[in-house]
């Protein structure tokens, strides 16, 4: 089954309150790769801090762009509908802002605004081990969502990094001076408790430079086709 961006699919094994998920990764990616990036749509209002996008398409639905998830294509079942353009734009815009893309993709990149919180949470640009070991190693993730979201939502969007020296390019930018790659298209929500936050159990390289974070942001713009969302933001700023 061809998976298409902007189409809502039902998900095998999803919870009863999940209506489906809309695909965000671009169609060249969707055609060639085994995983795709989706934002789940819920039948009830999720009890999460903003941004949640509420819209009506056949029925009332809520999308939480901060819950962007990478999934295997096999779990996507029937295509339920094309998401209305307005709802798609709202999801893209919310994701753009969660990832601070306008600041990071500008000519002179800037970090997202800082956020004070006493609690321990995964922080933007920091690298952590997360999840159960896969094979004999734990995976490293760099946090790409801004800290206001990370400190309030019990999770963060993160991108896996790898030391594999395969070809690099926009969606797999070379980071850490070229010794690693970031898998931008597999940006995914990870709950706070799955990150190893202890400073004693962090990878040797604990954070990425602003330059690397800018490269990753540009990679996500390509992989999740967020160019139009960036342009909408530029247009809005020009009108302000």
């Amino acid at each position: 089954m061809a998976i298409q961006r902007g189409v809502v699919y039902s998900i095998a094994g999803a919870s009863p309150r999940t209506f489906g998920a809309v695909v965000l990764t671009n169609d060249d990616w969707n055609e060639n790769m085994r995983e795709v990036g989706v934002v789940p749509l819920y039948l009830e209002e999720p009890g999460l801090p903003a941004p949640a996008v509420h819209f009506t398409a056949r029925r009332g639905l809520w999308a939480v762009p901060g819950r962007l998830v990478a999934v295997h294509k096999e779990v996507l079942e029937a295509g339920l509908m094309d998401l209305p353009e307005g709802a798609m734009n709202s999801i893209e815009d919310a994701l753009r802002d969660l990832l601070a893309l306008p600041r990071l993709c500008s000519e002179f990149p800037m970090a997202p605004e800082s956020c004070y919180s006493k609690s321990d949470y995964p922080r933007w640009s920091e690298i952590y081990y997360a999840g159960e070991p896969v094979g004999d190693e734990r995976k490293r993730y760099v946090v790409v969502s801004h800290n206001l979201w990370n400190s309030t939502s019990q999770g963060a969007i993160a991108v896996r990094t790898t030391s594999q020296q395969r070809r690099y390019g926009a969606e797999y930018p070379a980071i850490q001076g070229g010794v690693a790659r970031a898998c931008c298209a597999q940006a995914t929500q990870i709950p706070t408790r799955a990150f190893t936050l202890s400073v004693y159990r962090r990878p040797p390289v604990r954070s990425l430079s602003l330059r690397d974070m800018s490269s990753i942001a540009r990679g996500i713009v390509q992989s999740h086709q967020l160019q139009a969302a960036l342009e909408r933001r530029s247009g809005a700023v020009a009108h302000e």
Binding site: N32, A70, G131, V134, E171, Y172, A194
Partner: protein, 86 residues
């Protein structure tokens, strides 16, 4: 600002532009130069996008068989199901 250029135009294109400008979305009477100018502008953009797309697909294919990615996504996906994210 545009600069003038002297370039060879394939005969069939020249004839088509002269005889049927509406095929290119232009009303009759529009100068051939303005049609060629638009063609060059659009053509340049299309060629660039085509090259970028080709490179993008080559990059994806270089990673398409990456089992590490597949396993990592399986792990985050499993958690998303358990936590009710999906």
């Amino acid at each position: 600002m545009a600069r003038r250029a002297y370039i060879p135009v394939p005969e069939d294109v020249e004839r088509s532009v002269r005889e049927c400008p509406e095929e290119y979305g232009f009303p009759r009477g529009v100068s051939a130069a303005s049609i060629y100018a638009r063609m060059i502008e659009r053509g340049a953009r299309a060629l660039k996008e085509e090259r970028e797309r080709r490179e993008r697909i080559e990059l994806y294919r270089a990673w398409a068989d990456d089992d590490e990615s597949h396993e990592a996504v399986a792990e985050t996906m499993r958690r998303a199901f358990e936590d009710g994210v999906l």
